[in-house]
């Protein structure tokens, strides 16, 4: 018990790193994912096809494999961005692909009549997206997007494997000094649980709120 209390400030530092990495990845994945998802849905084939290939490859690999590869391959290819960015960009590449699919799903759920109506009253593509499609797609987008945020927080634990002292690695370093694996793993799990459970409940509540009967 005392070991756990003494470990708290150190774990707090780790938690901050976990939250920081998750936040950066969530922002990158949101921006790129919405862009790519829109391309998947509306862009001509020569744009959509490479995006589709990227998304299928990034989603088809285990995240841990992607992180190892990017982390070790970058120095081999003489790309020196540091381990931190290597891990963050691998995680971002993975989550971007998932957000693209969430975006695509949300956009495709909008009836094509909406696009046709927008076109009929002379709206440009940008106007149709901004005023017609996106506002309607938002309710389909938000709940699964929050789930990708949960996946990001969970996935960020894998950056511990390339030596970034996030919550996961902080827990292990404390165990390395105190030799009390069980209480510390349980404590670590509890911290992750509180963050992710809050997010998933939010997602569930939004989903219930946004559910509407379709004609």
């Amino acid at each position: 018990m005392t070991a756990m209390i003494k470990a708290l400030p150190f774990l707090w530092q780790g938690l901050l790193v976990t939250l920081q990495i998750s936040a950066i990845v969530v922002v990158i994945a949101l921006v790129l994912g919405v862009l790519f998802g829109t391309a998947l849905t509306y862009a001509p084939r020569w744009v959509a096809w490479p995006v589709r290939a990227y998304s299928d490859i990034a989603r088809g690999l285990p995240l841990i494999t992607l992180i190892f590869f990017v982390y070790y391959a970058m120095p081999a290819l003489k790309v020196n961005v540091g381990g931190w960015w290597a891990a963050v960009s691998a995680l971002a590449a993975f989550e971007t692909a998932h957000v693209s699919e969430v975006t695509r799903g949300a956009l495709q759920s909008i009836h094509p009549g909406q696009t046709e109506a927008g076109r009929a009253i002379g709206l440009t593509f940008a106007q149709r997206m901004l005023y017609v499609i996106f506002p309607q797609a938002l309710r389909r987008f938000l709940p699964p997007w929050i789930n990708t945020v949960v996946d990001t927080v969970k996935g960020s634990a894998l950056v511990s494997l390339v030596g970034i002292v996030d919550l996961m690695l902080a827990v292990q370093q404390v165990i390395g000094r105190t030799f009390q694996p069980l209480p510390l793993y349980v404590l670590g799990a509890a911290i992750y649980f509180v963050i992710n459970y809050t997010l998933s409940q939010l997602s569930r509540r939004l989903e219930a709120r946004f559910a509407y009967v379709r004609e």
Partner: protein
């Protein structure tokens, strides 16, 4: 770029990748089988039970869904034996973790599947005099399995990718094999340009086969 490719080392140690992939698939298969048993049992058991049972099941589901898999793997492999006074091999420990993890996801899938069974089917079962147990075995279960089949195949492919996490406790699956070759030869680009297609092709092949199966068993609704 001054990197010279040398695929010979990957060829020399390819056995580690081949057997690694076989083990990954095996772990995923055991995981989905055990997960189906756990998920189905709990979903059926929760039906019409009181709040205590439902809360306990929800606690199990939410715990496994909201904690990183890697932490669960460490918890089961290092944490539990440290106080339990026993030990198990890394592979056994990972199978236990992955099964519980799969079970937590599949309880929800089966619960949704049970909810999606048309009410009239169960009433019809009652009308022709089936006992509650017979209604579960002959009406609910077969109908639900066909409803949840797409979710099951997604879960299987997802588990196949999750087996890569087993490398952190030295279970000799595909990612562990890749890292072993890397640590011993430093041939990262070569190793990963072989491992990446192995994961992708296996995953896509599974997807293709499972989609065939889904089409074959899809419910035709009136």
């Amino acid at each position: 770029m001054s990197y010279h490719l040398n695929f010979a080392v990957v060829g020399r140690y390819f056995g580690r990748l081949g057997w690694g992939l076989a083990l990954s698939l095996e772990l995923a298969a055991i995981g989905i089988a055990a997960g189906v048993v756990i998920g189905l049992a709990l979903a059926l058991f929760a039906q019409g039970r009181g709040r205590v049972v439902r809360t306990l099941i929800a606690a199990y589901v939410e715990f496994f869904r909201n904690v990183p898999l890697i932490l669960l793997v460490y918890l089961v492999f290092y944490g539990i034996p440290s106080v339990g006074g026993f030990a198990y091999s890394a592979t056994t420990s990972f199978i236990i973790t992955l099964s519980l993890y799969a079970g937590a996801y599949l309880v929800e899938v089966f619960r949704a599947g049970l909810d999606a069974i048309p009410r009239g089917l169960i009433d019809a079962g009652r009308a022709i005099g089936l006992t509650p147990w017979q209604r579960t075995a002959y009406v609910q279960a077969p109908t639900m399995l066909r409803i949840v089949l797409p979710s099951l195949s997604n879960a299987f492919i997802s588990l196949f990718k999750d087996t890569a996490i087993a490398s952190v406790i030295a279970v000799p699956e595909l990612t562990y094999g890749a890292n072993w070759i890397y640590t011993n030869t430093f041939r990262i680009i070569e190793v990963y340009s072989v491992v990446t297609p192995m994961y992708l092709v296996t995953g896509w092949t599974l997807l293709l086969l499972l989609r065939q199966l889904e089409r074959r068993f899809a419910l035709r609704r009136a």
